[in-house]
Symmetry: C2
Subunit: 470 residues, 2 copies
């Protein structure tokens, strides 16, 4: 093994890796103890100046192994413990042991998803896992294909790319100037990845028409209908509608069936592809995202294929339809499937189910608690449909103000102030944001099944403790 | 830790992870033994049918931990050992112990690069590493910014995206229909990622003009000049030139200075960005790729920023210019920097230098050997400029045929036949491809510094053994 790690012989390599593993195991033990802080906050300039000997700067001279181990410990020490049961910030959260084992194996195998030649097992696992997911969506064997992508945003980009190609295959060679001006539709509560896709693909963000939602954040089908009509009137070519099952902030579900009916009537792309992001609610370590396409397998290939001969030789001795790299917009592609495959083996459908139910129960528990409090205000009175719960905290000074502009102005400053103190103290973490005409509110989103009711209680107590006197 | 891994308590989790580590360490030991096969080939249908109890299929019932360990062992068994010193196929190859340790830590930290809030250390490491790389390019502190991307292909896509935005900022909101028809230029030997970018971005592959190369695969500056002129004549707007330092197949270096001069004269984008792919020659585990941009930091932000309020709150208590996620076309982003940072600490510049020199020496050794053989034919008589060496093997039956069509036709079939046998036997692996008017030839590309001269000797002996009687 010697020359591999430079100057490291086999025994030293084994020893070094075992030391790293000991550090990681010790980290995990601490992580799951509730007495451990979620983070040890420092401002960028503090971390850059170097803390207690932890320096980020790179020198030209090599460091010794002992120092590297210290660096690793420090990296974890000053990082944020996203796997902590009291981390309620944006996903991903949690740390699944099986998924982690899968990731360690993946990096040891260190291969590349472009061809069956060098990734026979992982390429087939991709097929098996995607097929399983498509079965769950109720798609038959003849229809359907998919791909693992580096994030759900890229999955969404693929879906727009495929839709564009489906309607205008000439776009691949001739570009956007050869086709009509396109219009796409998504709800005003949708994730920004739809707009990013429009910017990247050359469609333009102003050609993404944001359809109005109801109070609960669900797209209003009638609004979609009239938005399509008015786009047509303005000479645009509507081709794509994105609907969300669990919006980012509210966790709202768009009325998929109604929207699909409208799309069918107008011949638009929806129900034709699904972005399914296992690194969110399923708790798979980042990155793990998929796009599933309800079309003939050939579509992905036709849209993206360039047949580079140095990689995709047609005269190989095996079935080269498994050289799936040419379906993608990448070349080298990280193996993201294995950890999910291993987790699926370990948990089965029932394991994932109970894990997700745990998150939904926590959301309901939080909702029920908030409903009965006068110092908190729910953004909605209705039960959460998903694992998101949105709420304001009313410090003492605001509690007697009537709802309205003046209170809103003050309320807007509350969440950022609490969040700042919360990060400085480091015992828990939760995100906040404004949305539409709603001033800054907290959004608690559960995706870590290690979180217990006591952690939810703790979160509220912390908010009160930090915000009471604001 | 119990509920985290479902049904796994702390002791069981620790035990399971240690068992996995033992499997991985045992795999590495075997990997570096030259007596171990590089692969144990099976056709897709064989693997899908299940081999000796290794089944890829997922059931709804959970498997027990013992079975999971067997699954992990089998996954490695039927995979390709890309870290083996006799794996000469496409990159990535090698298995760097420090990089691997970095990846294990990264997956344990399981965080997301979108904000400083949840990735303080990694975000700053990204800045430090990118700055170091820009220093090496000779860029001053005022100019220059960069980003880690999921692969060099995505880096290249970013570069085209930024160039388009630089010339036509209105494209972001208004799309391609608001701007002139664009033309981009790259050499006929360049990587297909440039064409993929054009397809994705809506520029169209036919607007990527492939500039002629000399025999050695280098772009001919005069040809670029006339290609630009003819694009202008055809009403296209030339905006972007890609040049390659180390082409995929030949390892050729385009004449960067001459090309940059031409671009400057015509006001085109080059030298403005560099794709640098540490998961190739630097031996960093996949994925690790960067784009470096010689422009004001703000460009990346302006081009891609959408200011999603749920993520990038402007009223946070720290310097939010470190919330670099809004520079990217992703949302969630895997931490790719840490393994590179750790390797850099461990090796210093000198470590990387000697590692790469080792690869270049191997290429020269192979070239020198081939020069003196009559059963092999070099694609070039001149010394390799990089770690790629391209050659044909002439089986006995072809050795007395004169060069020309008839021999070429037969020669074209030789490499695939040898490769097929080679994979079936599994003792080594090398890639082949045709290029331009050259029929199928082998390309040996060195990027694993564990490879020794004896491995190079072995490769040639194997080719002779498998191909002699063809
Ligand atoms: C010259 C060149 N550029 C870009 C790439 C793409 O890199 P990646 O596989 O990381 O996407 C390659 C890959 O082989 C390449 O050879
Ligand atoms: C509804 C929705 N879609 C897509 C995404 C993007 O996923 P990723 O972060 O994997 O790119 C998110 C991320 O939060 C999301 O909430």
């Amino acid at each position: 093994m010697g020359d591999l790690a430079m100057c490291l012989d086999e025994e030293a390599s084994r020893h070094f890796l075992q030391e790293i593993v000991n550090i990681l195991l010790a980290y995990m033990c601490k992580l799951f103890k509730r007495s451990t802080k979620v983070l040890d906050f420092h401002h960028p300039h503090q971390l850059k100046e170097g803390l207690e000997g932890f320096t980020l700067e790179l020198s030209d001279q090599p460091e010794n192994l002992e120092q590297l181990l210290v660096d690793c410990r420090d990296t974890l020490k000053y990082g944020v413990k996203t796997g902590h049961p009291r981390f309620f910030n944006q996903l991903s959260s949690g740390l699944d042991i099986i998924g982690l084992a899968g990731e360690w194996l993946t990096s040891t195998a260190n291969t590349n998803m472009f061809t069956y030649e060098i990734s026979p097992v992982f390429i087939l696992m991709e097929e098996v896992v995607l097929r399983k997911m498509m079965d769950m969506l109720g798609w038959s064997n003849e229809e359907g294909d998919g791909i693992f992508c580096p994030g759900g945003t890229v999955s969404n980009l693929y879906s727009v790319l495929l839709a564009r190609y489906h309607f205008f295959p000439e776009v691949k060679s001739r570009g956007m100037s050869a086709i009509p001006r396109l219009a796409m539709f998504t709800s005003s509560h949708s994730h920004y990845s739809i707009q990013k896709s429009a910017a990247v693909l050359g469609i333009g963000t102003e050609n993404v028409l944001l359809v109005k939602c109801d109070e609960r954040g669900k797209m209003i089908p009638g609004e979609l209908e009239s938005s399509i009509a008015s786009a047509k009137d303005r000479g645009l070519y509507p081709f794509y509608v994105s609907a969300t099952a669990g919006t980012t902030v509210y966790g709202a579900f768009d009325p998929l069936n109604d929207i699909a009916d409208i799309c069918e009537r107008h011949g638009l792309w929806i129900a034709s592809s699904v972005t399914w992001n296992p690194h969110k609610m399923m708790g798979v370590p980042l990155q793990c995202a998929t796009l599933l396409v309800r079309k003939k397998v050939s579509l992905n290939f036709e849209c993206n294929q360039l047949c580079a001969e140095y990689l995709f030789q047609p005269d190989k001795h095996y079935d080269t339809s498994y050289d799936t790299g040419d379906k993608t917009i990448q070349c080298g592609r990280h193996v993201d499937v294995f950890k999910l495959w291993l987790m699926w083996k370990a948990k089965g459908m029932e394991g994932f189910e109970s894990q997700i139910n745990k998150c939904l129960e926590n959301a309901e528990y939080l909702f029920d608690k908030l409903k009965n409090r006068t110092d908190f205000l729910l953004v909605f009175e209705s039960k959460p449909e998903h694992s998101n719960v949105c709420f304001w905290y009313l410090p003492h000074s605001l509690r007697n103000l009537p709802p309205g502009c003046e209170r809103d102005k003050k309320l807007h400053a509350v969440a950022p102030k609490i969040k700042a103190k919360m990060m400085e103290e480091g015992l828990t973490m939760i995100g906040y944001q404004p949305l539409g005409n709603k001033v800054n509110f907290f959004r608690c989103v559960f995706s870590n099944s290690a979180t217990q009711r006591e952690d939810v209680d703790f979160l509220l107590d912390e908010i009160v403790r930090l915000g009471h006197d604001l």
